[in-house]
């Protein structure tokens, strides 16, 4: 029996019954990683000894056999979320050698749920990118085609889950960084409503857009993970003190009677033919399952990418100012402190991060603030209102997650604008602060690459999103497909 192929809920069943131990589970996963990660490079850091020690402690204390939601389940963490005692580099040279001194809120939640904190996954530097090619530590490969990117920025987490190198993983989504790699790797990726999951301990890229969310093998696991992660945290003033429902309860309610909106702006000429076909087939399936399909309009969609790259970069320019070599991380000494800043940041940050810091600094500069940052904030409000109006007509929105399947490594690295368009269907969701999921809905013919379906819901409409996703998933076989590594 290969334990590593199980979903979290399947594994939990075995652990609860005492059919397997946390140690055996962890060992099985470590063996799998040993076999495939040399090719994929999904993990940046892993401590087998430490993971097994955590597993032994769980076996000894009996946590795996009680009702703890994740008792004995190893979880992979994107390298941007702090786990005390583990490295946290955010995929950047500037944090080379940095060890976290505290646990993120979600990590504390995972520990409390009995999870094993297994290792750190690769990512675009400071979550800036759509391909994981911007990592300072090398590219992660798509498990379906090693010549292709896994998406990004949470590419390591997506690849690890898709390749059975992790039962579930944490990622972060600022403009699509969970949903797009989930789509490109063929797993489930969930972006919660802004404020649903605490950001405390997540190294900020764009504070008003960032959310932590799970990567899982199926929708039921996604609901399980959300139960663990969601909730109010007094250390994050933007987290919302709203009760957390049991997301697993809503899963089997079906889509009958639900109105599903199709934004006409998302079904456009020039979209990849196979992606378009797969998404349309999925919509048909939802209709067969009893959903009512309605056309909706999100008229300000065209501005989303521009608005995003002003607001996200503006916030990033301040958020990344703390990496200066004074208190932690790498330092390059200089003639004086200003020289040290320049040399440290010059050597520590990669090209894309520098590009975005410069963009954001410019957007906030005297004389430009009104024309760029302030205007972008106004258009952001219009985009949010688009969704508010749309949700008067429907309960959930369905779109493609990404305009195309996984592209080749190096294909877009010379053209940042082309790369930015990779997130065209995911970015508005962060600007509006709503929730969404990506789940598998088909494959391209040749090469065989996963295609993702995006389901969006109202603010705090996680249950509806999971319900639609689960109904579709249970009526199809896509989520059972695994890459032949």
């Amino acid at each position: 029996m290969s334990l590593h192929t199980l979903t979290v809920h399947q594994l939990r069943e075995k652990l609860r019954r005492g059919a397997v131990s946390a140690r055996a589970t962890t060992q099985s996963l470590l063996d799998r990683i040993q076999v495939v990660d040399g090719k994929l490079k999904a993990y940046l850091w892993l401590n087998a000894e430490d993971a097994l020690a955590q597993a032994d402690e769980i076996d000894r204390s009996g946590i795996a056999r009680n009702g703890k939601l994740l008792g004995g389940v190893p979880i992979a963490i994107k390298d941007v979320i702090n786990v005390e005692g583990q490295p946290c580099t955010c995929g950047s040279k500037i944090l080379k050698g940095h060890t976290s001194v505290y646990d993120a809120f979600v990590v504390q939640r995972l520990r409390d749920a009995g999870a094993i904190l297994l290792g750190r996954t690769n990512m675009d530097e400071f979550a800036m990118g759509s391909s994981t090619e911007n990592s300072s530590w090398g590219v992660t490969r798509n498990p379906w085609d090693l010549e292709r990117i896994p998406g990004g920025s949470s590419g390591g987490s997506a690849a690890a889950v898709a390749a059975d190198e992790a039962f579930a993983a944490l990622g972060t989504d600022t403009g699509g960084s969970i949903r797009q790699p989930a789509a490109l790797c063929g797993c489930v990726g969930f972006k919660p409503t802004y404020g649903r999951v605490s950001r405390y301990g997540l190294v900020a890229f764009a504070s008003s857009l960032d959310q932590i969310g799970p990567f899982t093998k199926d929708v039921a696991d996604c609901a399980l993970m959300m139960r663990v992660l969601a909730g109010h945290d007094r250390h994050d003033s933007t987290s919302v003190p709203q009760p957390v429902p049991d997301y697993t309860v809503a899963l089997d309610k079906g889509v009958k009677g639900l109105r599903i909106g199709l934004p006409k702006e998302y079904f456009i000429d020039g979209m990849d033919r196979e992606v378009d076909g797969a998404v349309r087939a999925a919509i048909k399936k939802l209709q067969e399952l009893g959903a009512e399909i309605v056309e909706i309009s999100l008229p300000h969609t065209d501005y989303a990418v521009a608005v995003y790259y002003l607001i996200a970069t503006a916030e990033a320019s301040a958020n990344l100012a703390r990496f200066d070599g004074v208190r932690y991380g790498a330092r390059v000494t200089g003639e004086d402190v200003i020289d040290m800043y320049g040399k440290t940041r010059g050597a520590g940050f990669g090209a894309e991060v520098k590009r975005r810091i410069i963009l954001g600094t410019y957007a906030l500069s005297a004389g430009y603030y009104d024309a760029y940052y302030l205007r972008a904030q106004k258009v952001r409000t219009l985009i949010r209102q688009d969704f508010e109006k749309a949700f008067e007509k429907c309960d959930a929105i369905v779109t493609p997650t990404s305009p195309e399947a996984a592209f080749r490594i190096g294909e877009k690295t010379d053209d940042p604008l082309k790369m930015y368009l990779s997130d065209i269907f995911t970015i508005s969701v962060n600007l509006a602060g709503i929730c969404g999921v990506s789940l598998p809905c088909g494959f391209t013919a040749s090469p065989r690459l996963p295609i993702g379906l995006q389901v969006l819901g109202k603010p705090f409409g996680e249950e509806t999103v999971l319900r639609v996703a689960h109904a579709y998933e249970q009526a199809t076989e896509w989520h059972k497909q695994r890459p032949g590594l």
Binding site: G201, A318, R322, R327, Y328, L364
Partner: protein, 476 residues
């Protein structure tokens, strides 16, 4: 040509809160470097700020005390610049929507006139760390980083260094009376920068303004402004231009020096802080803060003069220190002689405190004991001189004056027989003085009085001694 100065002050006040502005670290002054720090105030990756509500309440209270408008909707902004004393390389501050705006502070001028100095705004922000420079390296102490800091910006309403001095003194008294801050400039709890320009009298436009930094005492501010006004006036008189710049005050040299010119003006790239929610001040919160509104120093001074019949000087000394005023009021409660108690408080008590380098709270004397001491003297049980001795013992032990008088047997001797005995003895021992008195030198009686007091160990009632002695000398 006659010139006048135009002065505006920016005052930074560290608020007296237990914890920092955006984390739970303590704000105690003088701790070992980097012992009052946590990932939040060190700007570690991934941390988030959480607003200290007490600091917001204190800022609102300040706003109420200086009669400003309190914003019902206020927000936080990031002020961006790089410096090693800034853990995040941005400071969380308030840019366009400060908590308080359009207030004023009334100052007293010579001749009993008053003047209102406008306060443009008072906003809240976080203090920075402290850079320390050693021979070959520099260090940063982050204990101060994140301390709640209120910035109070005045209108350019002051016209002389004396007005600036009066404004600062009055503002400081207000802040202390409200428990906002201890305002100890030596500890950096109150810091002041000044903008000053000079223009010909009668001109309405302002001259080129110069910002002065590094003034570490209130009188230093006055000296720096006097110097700077004289420097700018002299320049204008010579037909030179004053350039807009920032200058540093060197108190030892008594001069200001250029720090940076206008070309180096920072672009702070303010934008709304996405990690914090806007501050919404509800009716309930405002009402609650209003309940804590203390009596303002000027009003208290007037009340002390009226209620306790104190001279203006005494009232001024007592009110200048909130704790002292409270001590006095406790002492005087139900007492018959408020003026005498004020004398003891403002002279003996303050003197002893300074001598012992002690604060009122540390001192063992209880206010009601001071009232008791005065009533012992007034009632003739002890003399004023013995009173001082008793007071010294009260200061040492905290015991009540009656207990001390009893223990040490200090009760005043008012028994004519006993006093007569001392007088006989003094007369017998000092025939020369007696002879002097009798030959018309009336002052000789004072020496004899002193001798009697000495023989009685100070316990004889001085008034009775005088009366009986005179009778004996004249009759004898």
């Amino acid at each position: 040509m006659q010139y006048e100065a135009v002065i505006g002050l920016e005052v930074h006040v560290q608020l007296k809160t237990k914890s920092k502005m955006f984390c739970g670290c303590a704000t105690t002054f003088g701790a070992e470097p980097n012992t009052q720090v946590c990932p939040v105030c060190l700007g570690y990756p991934g941390v988030l700020p959480v607003m200290n509500e007490e600091a917001v309440r204190k800022t609102i209270l300040t706003g109420l005390m200086i009669e400003s408008e309190v914003a019902r909707f206020s927000k936080w902004d990031r002020k961006n610049y790089f410096y090693p004393d800034m853990p995040k390389n941005y400071q969380i501050s308030q840019y366009d929507l400060p908590l308080c705006a359009h207030g004023s502070v009334e100052i007293k001028l010579d001749g009993g006139k008053t003047k209102k100095i406008g306060v443009t705004r008072a906003h809240l922000e976080e203090d920075v760390a402290k850079n320390l420079h050693f021979e070959t390296k520099s260090g940063v102490d982050f204990n101060r980083a994140g301390t709640p800091l209120m910035e109070v910006v005045s209108e350019p309403d002051m016209r002389s260094p004396d007005e600036a001095f009066a404004y600062l003194t009055t503002l400081k008294e207000i802040l202390i009376s409200g428990g906002i801050s201890d305002c100890d400039m030596e500890k950096g709890q109150l810091r002041c920068d000044s903008n000053v320009s000079v223009r010909p009298v009668g001109q309405t436009e302002f001259g080129e303004k110069v910002e002065i930094k590094n003034m570490n005492t209130i009188s230093g501010v006055r000296r720096a402004l006097a110097y700077e006004i004289q420097r700018q006036t002299a320049a204008l008189q010579k037909g030179e231009k004053v350039s807009q710049e920032t200058r540093r005050w060197d108190d030892a040299a008594g001069k200001t020096f250029v720090m940076r010119t206008k070309e180096y003006a920072h672009d702070y790239r303010y934008f709304p802080e996405p990690d914090l929610m806007p501050v919404v001040v509800s009716d309930e919160m405002l009402a609650e803060v209003r309940k804590g509104l203390p009596e303002l120093p000027e009003a208290k001074r007037q009340r002390f003069i009226k209620q306790y019949g104190l001279p203006e000087y005494d009232a001024g000394v007592l009110v200048a220190d909130v704790t002292l005023a409270a001590f006095y009021e406790r002492a005087v409660h139900g007492a018959k002689n408020p003026k005498a108690i004020s004398n003891w408080v403002t002279t003996e008590f303050l003197g002893k405190l300074a001598e012992a380098k002690m604060t009122i709270d540390e001192c063992p004397i209880r206010p009601e004991h001071l009232a008791e001491l005065v009533s012992l003297i007034d009632g003739g049980q002890i003399s004023g001189k013995i009173g001082k001795e008793v007071f010294a013992e009260m200061f040492r032990s905290g015991k009540s004056p009656s207990a001390i008088v009893k223990e040490k047997g200090l009760v005043q001797v008012s028994d004519a027989g006993a006093i007569g005995g001392f007088i006989e003895e003094a007369i017998a021992k000092n025939p020369k003085s007696v002879a002097d008195f009798k030959s018309g030198n009336e002052a000789a009686i004072n020496f004899l009085k002193g001798q009697v007091m000495k023989l009685s160990k100070g316990k004889a009632n001085p008034q009775l001694v005088g009366e009986i002695l005179l009778r004996k000398l004249k009759g004898g």
